[in-house]
Symmetry: C2
């Protein structure tokens, strides 16, 4: 079984996707990897294992590498006569942010019939947009924090009490996120957030809130990671999160009660449900007074949260074997034929 | 300005998309059309205007026509040396159901930088799934009917009173929809609905409910159709709806009070909002005791609801000129460079 790592993309998280993909080279110890880079302008390149280092991308050297085209059944190298397929069994979508997490890559894989590990289209739509995540959480009975949506730059009347967290609706990795302690800091924080997104979410900021992460997937059984309490200062900024994308060691399990552990696991299973089948996701939770709240769903977590699992590589292989596909729909043209015969047309 | 009509697709509504596309040939009187067919197995074919008749598709004759490939910038004919682009200004997504309305086509157009009229990815996700439509309606303060979700074939305990409507969550054109008058009819209706979707929505069935349709878009101003009261027997089944897809005459405006008219228009504008920019949608509303409820949002309505507009063709051209594109995100590799220099690497 070989795995294609798809990374890069037209996204503010382009670079951390590269870091995630480089990390995968160490994480997969026995599985042959094929590396497919998506440039910022959305062209595909085949990157040889020896070139999987950051300078290949930052120097632009990738532009001299083998260009690929996506077509029905896979990625192809153009040849004078016909096209040659790049061989792999399943693709792992490792594009963070736009393209990878918003559902575009999932759409391409479904459309071109390529076997892939990733949140599917609807799952991406519901998790990439933090507002929709709240709708979804509510519908399955999982709590999330209070919020207010600002969907217009000029609309700045805040109804929640300070301090607040200000978040662009559709970005991960803490990009454009600010903590706002009082009204004097609000305008700048909103300017920053609206720079990245036309929809901005406000949530109460709770100092020293307990935060827990759990990742997992469903193969033919639940495969759940340890629960980690992520290290943080007051707040994880982009630079610090960046380091998360290169993690390949093993995390330490949080020291929590069985009750909290169970509550986190049950919330994760409810969230994953049917919607996230085919994917490995990481859910970030808060604990407030013994109750678990969903903070966010990472449909393509940094370095696939490999560091949270006992045996990440074999889990990926099991998931690749368990993937389900969209139902085939063949048209028999029954309606057109019946209308034609009613009209007496050929 | 020329328009490409994209139709067909891997969908239960494949055939009605063909009917919609054939209708467009009559509706566009001055604009040159390029017709691109997506077969059930998702291959692209260029169909000459003279071949835009149903027998081209039902007979399989399309398979002998020019095959196209989608790539950055458009659709291409493969040539011995290089590839030749099919020329058009903007594509009109006319694929009903899966692929067209679920966000896949929108994803392809964004990814390959093709100018297109269609609900965008998130808009598709929120309107294709009738459950998500309810979340969305609630978030913008538009009423919709009570509901119950069944997301497991074995889960058949109904909490709503009879009579009910049973609907697969993700299908249009009334496919798989049943009215259930009492408990004895329930199992069969659920069997049918689960045949098409793993999620099934139940809603109260209100006999003789008033139904109103309004279509429109935002160009540099609101462009709204008349409000139509669609003809129906107890229920519009697939055969009757089918005829809707070939409509090219003019509909008659419903005889309603100014108050109801305003309420429908305001609901439409709230729904369209920012989410549906770039698209022409039709919203179907109910009136219950003078109050307007959203029934469903059609992100790609049958024959684009052309029959509801005074001058559909010019509106499409205005919308094509007003289309906005995703923000370009160029990576400057600032983070990778800073990490490299911190590590002293080349």
């Amino acid at each position: 079984m070989s795995i294609a790592i798809l990374f890069g993309g037209s996204s503010y998280e382009h670079e951390i996707s590269i870091v995630s993909a480089i990390t995968m080279q160490k994480v997969f110890k026995k599985t042959p990897l094929v590396n497919i880079f998506v440039s910022s302008n959305r062209e595909f390149y085949l990157i040889e294992p020896r070139d999987m280092k950051s300078s290949t991308f930052s120097s632009g050297a990738y532009k001299k590498m083998q260009k690929l085209e996506i077509k029905k059944g896979g990625f192809f190298v153009s040849k004078m006569f016909g096209a040659k397929a790049v061989e792999f069994n399943t693709l792992l979508n490792l594009i963070h942010g736009r393209d990878g997490e918003d559902g575009k890559i999932a759409s391409l894989m479904e459309f071109f019939s390529i076997s892939y590990i990733s949140s599917r289209l609807e799952a991406c739509a519901m998790s990439f947009n933090k507002l929709y995540t709240k709708f979804y959480a509510q519908s399955i009975g999982v709590k999330s924090l209070d919020y207010q949506l600002l969907n217009n730059e000029s609309m700045r009347e805040v109804l929640l009490p300070f301090p607040l967290i200000v978040k662009p609706c559709r970005l991960g990795s803490s990009i454009g996120v600010s903590i706002v302690k009082d009204k004097s800091e609000l305008d700048y924080a909103l300017d920053v957030a609206f720079e990245f997104d036309s929809d901005v979410l406000l949530e109460p900021f709770i100092a020293n809130i307990k935060e827990y992460n759990l990742a997992g997937c469903y193969t033919d059984k639940w495969e759940l990671s340890i629960v980690e309490e992520p290290k943080k200062d007051e707040f994880l900024d982009f630079d610090k999160k960046y380091l998360d994308f290169s993690r390949d060691g093993k995390a330490v399990a949080a020291n929590i009660s069985q009750e909290i552990q169970n509550s986190i696991v049950e919330s994760f299973k409810a969230i994953y449900g049917e919607l996230f089948q085919g994917s490995i996701i990481r859910c970030d939770f808060f604990e407030v007074n013994g109750e678990i709240y969903l903070n966010e769903i990472n449909p393509i977590p940094g370095s696939m949260a490999n560091y949270l699992f006992e045996d990440f590589e074999n889990m990926v292989l099991r998931l690749a074997s368990a993937l389900r596909f969209e139902k085939k729909i063949e048209s028999k043209y029954a309606y057109i034929n019946s209308i034609q015969s009613a009209k007496g047309k050929a």
